[in-house]
């Protein structure tokens, strides 16, 4: 296992990055052309009303002051009030976040179940008929935007065949599995194309590696050679890739939530944008960044757990 000091070092490394993340979020809303106060105000608002909004948001203060207030509030969990929902941003986000996390995990699991066995099949006979067929299908998959995969699934499986619900969200775990299968699958198809590509390549490399030949020469059973020597080694780069594609995954869930009307933070983000609800947009952007950072950190941990060579430093 990676040592505690390693984890602490990684956590400390994140701090400057995260400060910069906060700067970006802060600047996006304040420095880009367009006045959030005007944008948020009703069309027929008077100058006084706009001035009021500006003061409420603290926009009349100098930028550095605003930033310090922003950081301080964020650290205490205060992300302001959502204009469209008239509730604290933190509360709104926390209510919707579990759905998105569930959806993301669900798609990752589906993607692994889909890509894993197929990558093995493809790598076992590289450039054979099965390999070429699998790769071609996934190549096409990589060229499909998530929203389009979603609409295809929706049309064929939900509308025509009536196999699955058109959208919505369940009430229990199993119910969720059932309700979210199409949105999760839409993201999973894209993710699995990425996994397949990488896992196939690293399996081919590992199957040919000296240590796998040596393991076979030791007379180990094929099962042990496969799991302990091949799979584990091939997984290192795939886990890294999976971790790094968390951003893609989040982008995918944002789209899929919109297509299937899933009440998660992705859809909320879009609603916030159309409502020009700046505090909410700001809070959600930060939430996504936190999610990604957490996954990056987890990836590091898993990676160093898998590969002892990464545990130093």
């Amino acid at each position: 296992m990676p040592s505690l000091s390693y984890l602490l070092a990684r956590l400390v490394q994140i701090i400057p990055t995260f400060l910069l993340v906060m700067v970006f979020i802060f600047l996006i809303v304040r420095l880009l052309p367009g006045d959030p106060a005007i944008a948020m105000a009703e069309a027929k608002a008077t100058d006084a009303q706009i001035e009021q909004i500006r003061r409420n948001l603290g926009l009349d203060q100098p930028l550095p002051v605003q930033f310090v207030v922003f950081v301080k509030n964020t650290l205490t969990g205060d992300l302001g009030r959502s204009i469209m929902l008239k509730a604290p941003v933190t509360e709104v986000i926390l209510a919707r976040l579990p759905t998105t996390i569930f959806l993301a995990l669900y798609s990752v699991v589906l993607a692994i179940c889909l890509a894993g066995p197929l990558a093995f099949l493809a790598a076992a006979r590289a450039n054979g008929a099965a390999d070429i067929a699998i790769r071609s299908v996934f190549q096409v998959g990589l060229s499909m935007p998530v929203f389009y995969i979603g609409l295809l699934l929706l049309t064929v499986l939900a509308a025509k065949l009536r196999l699955f619900p058109v959208g919505g969200y369940g009430t229990s775990f199993l119910d969720n599995l059932y309700h979210l299968i199409l949105p999760a699958l839409s993201v999973a198809l894209y993710t699995s194309a990425i996994i397949l590509r990488n896992l196939r390549a690293s399996l081919i490399e590992v199957l040919d590696a000296d240590y796998v030949q040596f393991a076979r020469a030791k007379g180990l059973s094929p099962r042990i050679v496969m799991t302990r020597h091949v799979l584990r080694n091939a997984m290192v780069s795939t886990v890294t890739l999976l971790g790094l594609s968390i951003g893609n995954l989040m982008s995918g869930t944002l789209v899929t939530e919109t297509v299937f009307a899933v009440p998660g933070v992705g859809r909320l983000m879009l609603e916030a944008i159309f409502a020009r609800d700046y505090p909410l947009i700001q809070g959600l952007t930060l939430t996504f960044a936190v999610l990604v950072s957490v996954v990056f950190l987890l990836t590091d941990v898993v990676q160093s757990w898998l590969d002892p060579r990464l545990r130093q430093s």
């Binding site: 000296d210 240590y211 040596f214 030791k218 180990l220 042990i224 302990r228 898998l306």
Partner: protein
Amino acid sequence: MEKPVVLAVRDLRTEFGPAAHPLVAVDGVSFEVREGEILGLVGESGSGKSITLRSILGIVQPRGRVFGQILWKGRDLAALDETRLRAVRGREIAMIFQEPMSSLNPLLTVGLQIEENLLAHTDLDARARKARAVELLDMVGIPAARSRLGDYPHEFSGGMRQRVMIAIALASNPRLLLADEPTTALDVTIQDQILRLIQSLAEELGMAMILVTHDMAVVAETCDRVAVMYGGRLCETGETAAVIGDARHPYTLGLLRSIPRDVPPRTPLYSIPGAPPALSAMPAGCAFTARCPVAGSDCRDARPPLAALSGGRHVACHRLPEAAAFFSAREAAR
């Protein structure tokens, strides 16, 4: 009294690629290894020596196809299925590889890599396996063996990793060790240590060994008998002293002349012209034709058989007298 033969390889042929026009990496190779004997298998890279070793253990499959007989204590390994073969692999016949840097799994502790071998081939319980692992590391000369079981391969130097690999190979007391250029990747100073280690362990454990190398000096130092390979075929076999002292095949002669031996400084060394033929461009006759100083027109088309000479020696060459004349003339000129 000669010791009994433990391994007899007969007409071994290993192919890769499509069955219709295969690439033949090993072609009609036959040799024997006696109990406790060290056989040197010599040749350039690409001559098929490593593939010969891997064919014996059946680990060239599924991509390679093996034909011929591999008689291990009278049992034909080539005819065994994967499951039965596995009981021989690592237990009765073990193998060590050339690259200590890449032959150990970087993600697993050295202890686990030794113990998984013991788990597969012995009935030892966890405690006994650990004790045996320590004993093995100790035996191959790794200091503070007990404390190093939990270390990973990257925490060892190249020479130490090669020792670890030897310890793994010896875990279940194999009767035959296949050593595939075990010292090539190491520093010169370490090479000698490892070679001596292998040699003394083989002697101590009464274990036979096939030592694959491209280095005639290693053969001279270590092996009882030697088989010279070229282009996937054997060209000369015999007692080490006899072959080195009185080589007959033009390839062996050339190989020996290319090593500096008892010569004054600045003597130009012989170098065999050209490069070994590609597997896809092997001539029908003698594989060495293109580079042979004495080859005639018959050499290209007719394959020379591995014919017996006196003293248990075998040579495959159509032009033995010409070869002897050519190289002795060179010798005389010097």
